[in-house]
Each structure stands twice: as structure tokens, then as C-alpha cells.
Amino acid sequence: MKGFFPVYRKELYCFFSSPVLYVVAFIFTGLAGYFFYASVSYYSLASFQAARDPFVASQLNLSDMVLQPFFGSLGIVLLLMVPLITMRLFAEEKKTGTIELLFTYPISDSAAVLGKFFAAICVVLLLLVTTLPAMAVLAYVSSPPWGNVCSGYMGLFLMSCSFVSLGLFASSLTQNQIIAAALSFGPLLLLWIIGWAQSLTGPTLGSIIGYLSLVNHFDNFTKGIVDSRDALFYLLFTTLFIFTTLRILESRQWRG
């Protein structure tokens, strides 16, 4: 793992000096803020209307009506934004030719890949941190169920890891950043909605499709359940794509 930190530091520097990050972060925070505001306002309206009916009022809770839709929307926004963050990781270096430089340094391939991966993860984490003030506001107006908040963020983080790994892989395939973004966005969206086909197929294929669905595993986290199967799915997904990226990089030596 020689050279992990230099790659990591350099990538972070590139991120923060490029306008892409700020544009992405601006859009992300704007959308996240809007979703938060909308769901809390709607909840407030529903509470107001339910005030007369004690039965309906007893059904109201923040986890179902605010946190679950909020985390669900954040997941979709991340799905749209992460490919834009990861697209340049290898594609830019290939385009400018600095990738040759990277390989001539005494840096192992895995250090290069992991350095880039963790730098992108840091950026995604930063995006998630920008939603924390919203939680503070929620704590100011009500008392949110912190267990659900924790599991929601845990789910977002684990899912982002798999997004980043696929983006990293897509970026290693091409030197065009737009192609890299499209190559990661397409499969991610497919894996997001693949669960819809679950009910149309037989039980065996259905359960495989259901397992591959990114959103099926995310649902539990938004509900407040941390399930080892869901966490393992994201971790395995991430590992598989990091491994594949490594093989792709390695293949340059013999593909000529």
C-alpha cells in the first residue's frame, strides 16, 4: 500500500480546486434542503389536520413521515450526483496522460485505486455532513428518533460506497469523463429500479433480482433496521468493483 496517502491527498486537492465539486455540492444541498423542508412542512400540515382525530394523530411519527422519505430522496440525489464526482478519477488522468506518471512513481496499483476511492468517499461524506444542520433544525422543533437518524445515515454511507466503487470502475474504462459518468449512472439506475421486475418473475429469479436491487437493501436502513445482510451487500458490491478496477488497471501492462 505504498503511496496511498500521496494519492489520497492529491485527489482531495484536485476535488477542492475544481468547480465541479462546488456545483455538485450546491445542487445537492439545495435539493436536500428542499426535500427536508417539504417533508417537515407536510408533516406539520398533516399534524394540524389530524389534531381533531386522536386515532390519526397517534399514527403520526417522524420516522415514517419525515425521515424515511427524506433519506429515500437523498439516496436518489446521491445516485445522480456520485457519478459526477467519480467520473474524473481515472478518465482525466488518462486524457492528460498523467496516468503514465502515476504508474512510474513507486506507487502500487492498489494504493492508487484505494487513494482515489477514499478521496471520493470523503467528498461524499462531506455532502452528507451538509445535511446535518437539517437534523439540528428537526431537533429544535421536535424530538427526532435518533436511532432512525443513525441507521439512515449509515445506509446512505454504505450505499454511497457502492456508488463510488462503480463510478471508479467506470472511470477506469475510458478517458472521456462524460462517458465515465454515463457508464456509472446507467448501471446504478438499473440496479436501483431492478426490484420492480421482481414481482413479474418466478420466485428464484425474483429473489436474485431482489437481492441485486440497491434500493431494497436501503429501505431497511431508512426504516431504522440495521441488517447485516444489507451492510454486507454494499460492502461486497464495493469490494467487487474495486477489485475489478484493479484488474482493469493491471491489464494495461499486457494489452499494450
Binding site: 434542503g33 406539520s44 429544535y140 436511532g147
Partner: protein, 469 residues
């Protein structure tokens, strides 16, 4: 040439490496699926079963298959799926599958599904159908399946009661079959021969006696109730059963009358066939919405105040267009008229459920007569009295909700002693009404703060970099 062979060699090694790694990933995923670990971070542990359910599941020694009949798009489905997943997580012996009765009508027909949202539980060679997909219902159904002790429903004989062997229109042979389908055994008993109600009786049914019971028999019944027995009485009008005094002591009043329902003629029936229009809030009638018909019925009323240790509830009432006629002559061809002075205006109760908690005294006598019996009996005796026995006869059992009402009653009485009551802590309601200032904070910090911070950071970085150049 050499270069090409080297290329192919590397390609194969890389491909094999990739395949091997994918294989490992799949293997780990499969192992992970088999050994799940869950952390329920919700406030009221919504996705964790109660201790009672866990206990029932851990005692399982065979598989339970749950078939949930839900429409693909039903809103309830997700909640039920979460619940069944929680069962599956708690015990690997529980398997479940969802079936859309619209898409698989053959299966729905095979299991005689009448409503969406029905659950069929199968296991130990038996099956149980429940219509409420709540933890309490599911756990109790699993418990029923896993119990190997066969429960026995006794029918009293010796006074011209309905005959469970008779297949004619007044017989109770359909009742017998229906009860057996619920995994109970059906037997008869005669208190003129045996001095006591049998030990192993889960329920004793006295269906339409035509001659009064002897004092000795009534005493035996009282004894049975004292030791926490479950008794179902179905007493027709103008037949003295000899039980009137005993029932009065438990707060249940039987008078000589017959119910006249002018409305039920609308449905094409006689005016002596009252429609049950209302049901009391009881486990027997929980969620029950189908009308029942009680041909030639009498009123069963509760005395107020109820005697100590007894909880009384009017289980089924006729419509407001009916009354209890106390001076009825069958020879009249004209329908009788309502008489203010003597008759009781509807809705008239025709069924009463009583839960009798034994007083200290009778409890101790119960113990002294039968040591060890208390072990498997709840101390509360359940008594249900219907003012009619025709409604469950072969002729009328399959009319509207009659069979459901009857079987619900039998099920309730038979399961009473080991039924589990599960009270889930309700989700803490947290209605939120924003004040003006809170709404402003929500808007400014929620929506505008972070984009502004990001914008400022971006501008600062670019100014800094321009200066550096």
C-alpha cells in the same frame, strides 16, 4: 506470435482471477444471507417481536409455512412483509410467501380465500387461517399449529339437544365437520351418566335442550364454571332449560319471549328470523361485519349492575325495527304488534358473553376438588349464551355469517386458556405544529444555509487561486 500467446495467457489468468473472486463474493453473500444479524434502532422496537412471540417461536420443532394473500399493490402489504420478515429473522423455521389472489385465483380458491389480507399458516399437518395480520394473531395461530394436545369440544346430550350426528336439516352434522376442520375433536357427554363435565373439555356446548336439566346437572355445570370451564349455551325460546336461575346468578336474564323483526321480511324471510345488525366489541366479533340470521330467537339480556367478578357484554343485537314479543301466539296468521307495556323495543340482545373470575372462595374449592387442574386452565370462566340454536343447524349454518359467528365463538372459548395477549407498545405519536418562528428557521437553515455556505466556499477558493496565479 509469442506476443499473442502471452496476451492470451494473461487474459485467461485475469479472467480466471476475476471469476474466482466473483465466486468468493457470491459465497460470502450466501453465507451472509444465512446468518443475518439485525439491529432494530427504532424507538419502540417496531421491528422486533415481543418476548411472548419469541418464546413461541423458539419452542417450534417443525416448519411453518405462511401464505399471505395480498394484492400486489395493497398498501398493507409492505407492513405485513416487514412483520413476516421479522418472524423469519426470529426463527428460520418460519417461511412465508405472498400470493396475489387476483393473479393466482386457483390458489386463492384452494385455500378458500374470501378477503384480501388473509393469512394461511400451515405446519404440523394442520392449517390455520387468520384475517388479521397482526403479531398477536400470527403468534397465536403458530401456537395453535404447534400444540399437539388435541382440544375436545363436548356437546351435552340427554335432553333432546341438537344432534351432532344428524345430517337432517335440524341436525348439527355440519357444525361437527366445521369444528373438526379447526383442529378440534368433537365428542358428546351425558351428565346423567357422568357426574362431572369431563376433565379434558375445552368447551362444553349445550345446544337447544328441549327438556330442563336436572338440579344435579346444573350443579355440575356450575362446578365446571367454578374451575374455569368454558361454556356455550344455545337456548331456544319457550323451552325451559333449567339453567335460568344459574344464569341469573351470573347476571344473564332469560325471559319467555320471542324476537319479531319486521325488517327481516325485506330480505325475503319470515318476521321471526331477526337479522343481527350490531355486534359488541368482543374478541369473538372483532372485525366481524357480516350479518347473521337467528331464526326463532329469544332475548338474552344482562342485569345491571353485573354481579361481582363478572364482565358482561352484549355480543349480538337485532335491528332497531325488531322487538322481543312476550305474548306470542303461533296460531296468529297476522304479524304481532308491538306492545309498549310488555315488549322490549329493539335493538334486542340475543347473545351475551360473560367472563367470570372466580371469587377467592370458589377458587379454593376448585383447587381442593381437583389438584393440578389449574395448571393448564386459566382461572377465568368464559360463558357465552345465545338465545337461539337454529342458526347453527344444518339448514342455516351456511347462511351469511352464521358459521363464522359460531366458529369464532368456539375458537374463542377453546383457545381461551392458552391464548396469548400481545400488547405492542404503540408508536409514540409526535404531532408537530410549527410556529411562525420555527417555520422561518426551517426555511432559512433547512433550505438556504448550506447552499449559501457551499457557494461562499467556492467563490473563496477561486479568488484565492486567482491571486496565487
Amino acid at each position: 506470435m509469442r506476443q499473442t500467446s502471452r496476451f492470451l495467457k494473461r487474459l485467461t489468468t485475469t479472467s480466471f482471477g476475476f471469476l474466482a473472486f466473483t465466486g468468493i463474493v457470491v459465497l460470502v453473500a450466501l453465507i451472509g444471507q444465512r446468518h443475518p444479524l439485525r439491529l432494530d434502532l427504532t424507538e419502540n422496537k417496531r421491528y422486533t417481536l415481543t418476548e411472548q412471540s419469541k418464546k413461541v417461536l423458539s419452542a417450534l420443532n417443525g416448519d411453518i409455512q405462511i401464505k399471505a394473500f395480498f394484492q400486489e399493490t395493497a398498501a398493507e402489504r409492505d407492513r405485513v412483509r416487514d412483520l413476516l420478515k421479522t418472524y423469519r429473522y426470529t426463527s428460520k423455521k418460519v417461511h412465508f410467501q405472498f400470493i396475489d389472489p387476483d393473479r393466482q385465483p386457483a390458489l386463492a380458491r384452494q385455500y378458500q380465500i374470501r378477503d384480501y389480507g388473509t393469512l394461511v399458516l400451515e405446519g404440523f399437518g394442520k392449517s390455520q387461517t387468520i384475517t388479521s395480520a397482526e403479531e398477536e394473531a400470527i403468534t397465536n395461530a403458530i401456537l395453535k399449529l404447534s400444540q399437539d394436545r388435541e382440544k375436545i369440544v363436548y356437546f351435552l346430550t340427554g335432553h333432546g339437544e341438537r344432534d351432532i350426528g344428524e345430517a337432517g336439516k335440524d341436525g348439527y352434522s355440519l357444525v361437527k365437520t366445521a369444528i373438526e376442520k379447526q383442529n378440534f375433536k368433537v365428542k358428546t357427554c351425558n351428565l346423567l351418566v357422568a357426574p362431572e363435565v369431563p376433565e379434558d373439555a375445552a368447551v362444553l356446548v349445550i345446544a337447544g335442550p328441549q327438556k330442563p336439566l336436572l338440579a344435579k346437572e346444573v350443579e355440575a355445570l356450575q362446578h365446571y364454571l367454578d374451575r374455569g370451564g368454558n361454556l356455550l349455551l344455545m337456548l331456544d325460546p319457550y323451552n325451559r332449560s333449567g339453567l335460568e336461575e344459574m344464569l341469573r346468578s351470573h347476571g344473564i336474564l332469560l325471559t319467555d319471549d320471542i324476537i319479531v323483526d319486521t325488517m327481516s321480511k325485506v330480505f325475503g324471510a319470515d318476521y321471526l328470523m331477526p337479522v343481527i345488525a350490531q355486534y359488541g366489541h368482543h374478541k369473538i366479533t372483532d372485525g366481524f361485519r357480516i350479518a347473521c340470521f337467528f331464526p326463532v330467537a329469544r332475548s338474552v339480556r344482562v342485569s345491571s349492575p353485573a354481579p361481582a367478578n363478572t364482565k358482561l357484554l352484549e355480543l349480538a343485537l337485532t335491528s332497531q325495527y325488531s322487538w322481543a314479543e312476550s305474548d306470542f301466539k303461533t296460531t296468529d296468521s297476522e304479524p304481532p304488534k308491538f306492545n309498549d307495556n310488555r315488549d322490549i323495543q329493539g335493538p334486542v340482545p340475543v347473545a351475551v358473553a360473560a367472563a367470570i373470575t372466580p371469587s377467592k372462595k370458589s377458587d379454593s374449592t376448585g383447587k381442593s376438588t381437583s389438584p393440578g387442574r389449574k395448571k393448564h386452565r386459566s382461572s377465568t370462566a368464559e360463558l357465552v349464551v345465545y338465545g337461539d340454536s337454529d342458526f347453527a343447524s344444518n339448514r342455516y349454518l351456511n347462511l351469511q355469517g352464521n358459521s363464522d359467528l359460531f366458529l369464532n365463538t368456539i375458537n374463542f372459548l377453546a383457545q381461551q386458556e392458552d391464548l396469548i395477549t400481545i400488547e405492542r407498545p404503540r408508536a409514540k405519536a409526535a404531532p408537530l405544529t410549527l410556529t411562525r418562528s420555527q417555520s422561518l428557521v426551517l426555511f432559512w437553515i433547512g433550505i438556504l444555509l448550506m447552499p449559501a455556505v457551499v457557494l461562499a466556499a467556492g467563490v473563496a477558493v477561486f479568488n484565492f487561486r486567482r491571486k496565487q496565479r
